[in-house]
């Protein structure tokens, strides 16, 4: 019995950090409407900075001073980030805000490794709190007791701050109605900055307080952000009370899940989240959000099917690509096959993201499922390649059916957070279920059939499947289904009012996109001859987003161009620099801030504005206008 009590109390202690980070995220979202993906990065920075400070400052005062000082330092970094980056994107579509803060996360990760090294750092124990209470024979660390008390104390302090100070009242007013506060003559810029600073302070404090309990390392950011997303999805984004209740709930589920179902504790949290989403899609304490504008709204150029010239050009490029084995080395062919596979991956995300307005931050889940599907069939069932290629993606299809059903109940940032959480679940299963997946060691020896075992033949196979996928998805874009999908993105109100069942359409699109991603994953497994948990990892999900963004979110063919350029660049980059995340993160931030239309989008607007008028086709004389609505 006492064992369970102790387990419960330990869960409460873990809830503290989760609550601090989640409440910070919620406060920032309430006022700025930005879901700060970089919140996990600030949490991690808090831990690293606190580690360095407490190593240098001695004594009790030095320790606690170091913890608080670390949170202040990171909050100041947050202020810089807000002023230099976020102020430029407050009016951008939410996809871009998510991506920019994600880019930031990538950069911070590499910088942390650069400064503090890649190894786990063990911090100082809290002076005076090293001992443990005896609870009927079970030990409770004294430090955990402190954390248990801290959660409710911070909750109370935040309540006082928001109800008893002028600043807090202003923040609450801004959460209700931003424009009203501007009308009151309040300097909105500084209100935003101060709110962001508070949110970052809380996250960093949460991180700093972890050092006596846990080792500090550079994967803390993604681990916590996924948990935090689960917390805010359950508790309701924007609600501090919700963050508290859900943080306790999630921590307790984790604490007891480990006891009851050690292998699948993560599934337990997922089941609870799913149940909450069905009953209350906006979380336990959240309020329904007014539907966010789904269209990126950078341009209103309608999409047109390819002209005959463009089709001929496509075939021409394809023929040229097919000629690569005549000139290229084996290395070039392997790279070429990889690029082709990523074209399928990017185009599948484009279908749900650009056509359907569903920006998935976990598209790699389906890529990974496809890859593992092939590996299981090939290694465990011993099926021939052709059967594996056809049946393997079914695993991705089933995954998309289940995860997609839940995801399409939500939209905008909630959708993004949920898809990310699902992808993390897939990754965790691949990582933890060692008996079946081989865990971190992956599954090796997934070799293609002899018929396509040479680099040239495998390249041709990949190219053919890619060309077919691109054509099929393009036909879908212009099919009645594709238009109905785009209709749900453009105006949910109008599409429901003309008989379109938005959720069913979006679910179907999700499944189609997931299946094509799984097909890409299946090919990838054969290309590499092995599968690993990272085939479903966050980095890969972000890759797919960047490929679409780089090519141009609002174009039909952008994903193809984006995938080719991005993949070629990143293969080149990885072989030239250790700091690929830093560079990649920087590229994402720059893209969002300076180049939001992407390659094809920019090219199109150059044509439209007459700078490349010799390429202009048709009689459309559109101008760039803000999206209507």
């Amino acid at each position: 019995m006492s064992f369970y009590v102790v387990q419960f109390l330990s869960g409460l202690a873990s809830a503290a950090a989760l609550f601090l980070v989640a409440s910070g995220l919620s406060i920032i979202f309430g006022v700025t409407r930005i879901v700060n993906f970089a919140h996990g990065a600030f949490y991690m920075l808090g831990a690293y900075v606190a580690f360095s400070l407490t190593e240098r400052l001695s004594g009790t005062l030095g320790f606690w001073g170091g913890i608080v000082l670390a949170a202040v330092v990171v909050a100041l970094i947050g202020v810089l980030v807000e002023m230099l980056l976020l102020r430029r994107i407050y009016r951008s579509p939410e996809l871009f805000q998510l991506l920019a803060t994600f880019g930031l996360t990538l950069m911070v990760e590499d910088l942390a490794v650069l400064i503090w090294g890649p190894d786990d750092l063990l911090g100082r124990r809290a002076p005076g709190l090293r001992g443990a209470f005896d609870f009927f024979g079970q030990a409770i660390p004294t430090y955990d007791v402190l954390l248990m008390v801290l959660g409710p104390v911070v909750l109370g302090a935040l309540w006082l701050l928001f109800h008893r100070t002028r600043w807090g009242v202003l923040v609450r007013a801004a959460t209700q109605d931003r424009d009203m506060v501007a009308a009151l003559g309040v300097n909105q810029k500084w209100l935003f900055t101060s709110v962001f600073a508070l949110g970052v302070f809380l996250a960093a404090l949460g991180g700093a307080l972890q050092i006596p309990r846990d080792a500090v390392n550079h994967t803390m950011d993604l681990r916590i952000i996924v948990d935090v997303f689960v917390v805010v999805v359950i508790g309701g984004l924007g609600s501090i009370t919700g963050a508290f209740v859900a943080a306790v709930l999630v921590s307790e589920l984790n604490a007891f899940g480990i006891l009851i179902f050690p292998k699948i504790s993560i599934i337990l949290v997922f089941l609870v989240m799913a149940a909450v989403l069905i009953v209350r899609p906006w979380g336990l304490f959240g309020k329904p959000e007014a539907a966010a504008r789904q269209t990126p709204g950078l341009a209103v150029q309608p999409w047109r099917p390819l002209s005959t010239q463009a089709r001929l050009a496509f075939i021409g490029v394809l023929v040229l690509a097919a000629a690569l084995p005549l000139l290229g080395s084996n290395y070039a062919l392997i790279v070429g096959a990889e690029i082709a596979i990523f074209v399928i991956f990017a185009v599948s995300l484009h279908f749900m993201m650009s056509v359907g307005g569903m920006a998935s931050f976990g598209h790699a889940a389906y890529f990974g499922l496809g890859a593992y599907g092939v590996a299981f069939l090939a290694k465990l069932a011993g099926l021939p390649m052709i059967a594996c290629l056809l049946l393997g993606p079914l695993l991705g299809l089933f995954g998309a059916i289940i995860f997609g059903w839940f995801s399409v109940q939500l939209s905008g940032v909630y959708f993004a957070m949920l898809t990310l959480a699902f992808a993390q679940i897939v990754w965790s299963i691949a990582f933890q279920w060692v008996d079946v997946t081989g865990g971190d060691n992956g599954i090796l020896g997934v070799w293609p059939a002899a018929l396509v075992a040479t680099p040239a033949r495998f390249y041709w196979l990949s190219l053919a499947i890619t060309a077919l996928s691109v054509v099929v998805l393009r036909v879908l874009v212009f099919s009645p289904f594709g238009y109905a999908l785009r209709a749900t993105r453009d105006s949910g109100l109008r599409s429901e009012a003309v008989g379109i069942n938005s959720k069913r359409i979006q679910w179907t699109a999700f499944v189609i996109a997931g299946t094509f991603a799984a097909l890409a994953g299946a090919l990838f497994a054969y290309l590499k001859g092995s599968v690993f948990p990272d085939n479903a990892g966050i980095a890969l999900s972000v890759d797919s987003l960047v490929m679409v963004l780089l090519g141009g979110v609002e174009t039909v063919s952008g994903a193809v161009v984006g995938a080719i350029v991005y993949k070629a660049l990143s293969i080149w980059l990885v072989s030239y620099t250790e700091l690929s995340k830093l560079v990649m993160g920087g590229v994402i931030v720059l893209l969002v801030v300076m180049f939001p239309k992407g390659i094809v989008g920019t090219f199109d607007s150059l044509i439209e504005s007459g700078k490349l008028s010799f390429l202009k086709r048709g009689s459309s004389r559109a101008t760039q206008t803000e999206g209507a609505e």
Partner: protein, 263 residues
């Protein structure tokens, strides 16, 4: 007029938002081919009524019947399939499609082809789409991005979309709000003509009393959620309660009332 013959029969419709009683016990009927105006000051509950009629919101109490069939609480897409077209106070169209494609999407849905993965939508029932565009007078913009249209033309486009499923009933919430006075009169004349020709029942709201009196067969007056008067234009015009509200609001009958985007 017996209830059995009514195209639309509304009985005791009620809705409140928290403490605000937006609509209280509204009952009326509408016959096929009849043009019925629902008027009342801003915040009277007109849009809320429309939302409950087409299923956008669920009423707290009351019933909505279409041709004798209870449709209360059915989602908008079902109500649409039963032959109810709707235009919105703030236009809702598909801004990234061309004007023609906007209508084609509705035609695709009407033909139950939404899950068709193969055909080309830009070629789908193009003639039917163009006929609808011509009917409302925006055929010249068929290839233009819908996001570029002037507001008045968007309102016309909405009408074309609403007509795409050959509706029996049109619900038009402030169809002319935000249009120039000349365009308002033209659009309502057009609507009235189409409604009479195709025997479509129309329920509309409108702030321009000239327009209301010219076209409505009957008028319902809503104030603070309750129907306070009902009758022919002549009867309503003389009703002392109606006069009081409209004078109190500073709206004499022919005053031009500029609608903002709110309410």
């Amino acid at each position: 007029m017996s209830t059995a013959a009514a195209l639309l029969a509304v009985d005791g419709l009620t809705k409140s938002y928290g403490g605000v009683h937006a609509v209280r016990g509204v009952s009326f009927t509408l016959a096929a081919g009849e043009i019925l105006a629902l008027i009342g000051p801003n915040g009277a509950g007109k849009s809320t009524c429309f939302d409950m009629l087409n299923g956008q919101r669920k009423p707290d109490r009351g019933r909505v019947q279409l041709l004798g069939k209870d449709i209360t609480g059915q989602p908008p897409r079902r109500v649409w399939r039963l032959g109810v077209g709707r235009t919105f106070q703030i236009t809702a169209t598909f801004p990234t499609m061309t004007v023609r494609e906007n209508v084609q999407v509705a035609l695709v849905s009407h033909a139950n082809q939404i899950f068709n993965l193969w055909r080309s939508t830009p070629d789908f029932q193009r003639d039917a789409a163009d006929r609808l565009l011509a009917l409302v007078g925006v055929e010249g913009y068929a290839e233009r991005p819908c996001g570029e249209l002037a507001y008045g033309d968007l309102k016309r486009l909405e009408l074309a979309i609403a007509l795409a499923n050959e509706p029996k009933l049109l619900l038009m919430d402030e169809p002319t709000a935000g249009m120039a006075p000349r365009d308002r009169i033209e659009l309502m004349r057009l609507t009235a003509r189409i409604a009479r020709e195709q025997s479509i029942g129309v329920l509309f709201t409108e702030h321009d009393m000239d327009v209301v009196f010219e076209h409505a067969d009957r008028i319902l007056v809503l104030n603070r959620g309750t129907l306070i008067a009902e009758g022919s234009p002549e009867q309503v015009r003389r009703d002392p309660q109606v006069r009081a509200i409209y004078l109190g609001e500073g709206l004499v009958y022919d005053a031009r009332h500029q609608e903002g985007a709110g309410a």
